[in-house]
Symmetry: C2
DNA sequence: CGGCATCCTCCCCGATACTG
DNA sequence: CAGTATCGGGGAGGATGCCG
């Protein structure tokens, strides 16, 4: 069993955090959770993600069992990514963060302005 | 008002995610939320964080109004970091992630092993 | 359409040394 | 004790080109 202390390197919290705390993972998990989506549709949906990073991120999401990848033998090939039950449960625990963000973004901006103002003064 | 679509670059979700989705921010927020803590105590509590990155991360947490920094004029100086109400509310929305992590870490490990097994085969 | 390979750049982060 | 300054490596991630 892993060390449960959330501040030790090998505890579950740290391991999960190291996996999802990057620029795109949470965003893509959320996007795929909405509905099954094809590669390029995902690329258009999530503004700013490059093809390479999208591919990489989806692959590690697949590896972790959070999304599935299904290739249909059409011409040209169609690839659809979908959420798994495991991924959906993670997405549900992350969803409140989006709500928190919209409700508190103004407070953050205000705090930053105050902090920067004190520095300049 | 900011764009509420969570997949556009300037929406609150993206802004917040860009701020907290790094290696140490969530961890330090959680640690400080437990109790007010001094710099070196924090450093010992959170295994593996370097002095420089701890200092940087605390400063940006302070800038965002998520933690406070209070210096006591002792000799040598004592500096204590504490959570703010804003920081506490963020920490509460992040806390379920730690629970999710301990409950599902085994499933993730299993999915990874299966994925890697298929690749090798 | 959905990738992989390659190259390259930036900046995150660690190590070390020094300061009030 | 609580930082700042400096240096440097490595990896994340962007741009481009090619392929099934």
């Amino acid at each position: 069993m892993l060390n449960p202390d959330p501040f030790q390197a090998q505890c579950p919290t740290r391991v999960i955090l190291d996996r999802i705390a990057d620029k795109w993972t949470v965003l893509l998990l959320t996007a795929v959770a909405e509905r099954p989506t094809r590669f390029n549709a995902l690329r258009r949906r999530v503004e700013g993600v490059s093809q390479k990073v999208l591919s990489q991120t989806l692959k590690s999401l697949e590896r972790d069992g959070l999304v599935t990848r299904h290739a249909y033998p059409t011409v040209p090939v169609t690839v659809e990514y979908a959420i798994t039950p495991l991924g959906a449960s993670l997405e549900r625990t992350l969803a409140p963060l989006a709500h928190w963000a919209s409700e508190h973004i103004d407070q953050i901006a205000k705090a930053q302005a105050q902090f920067d103002g004190r520095k300049a003064a």
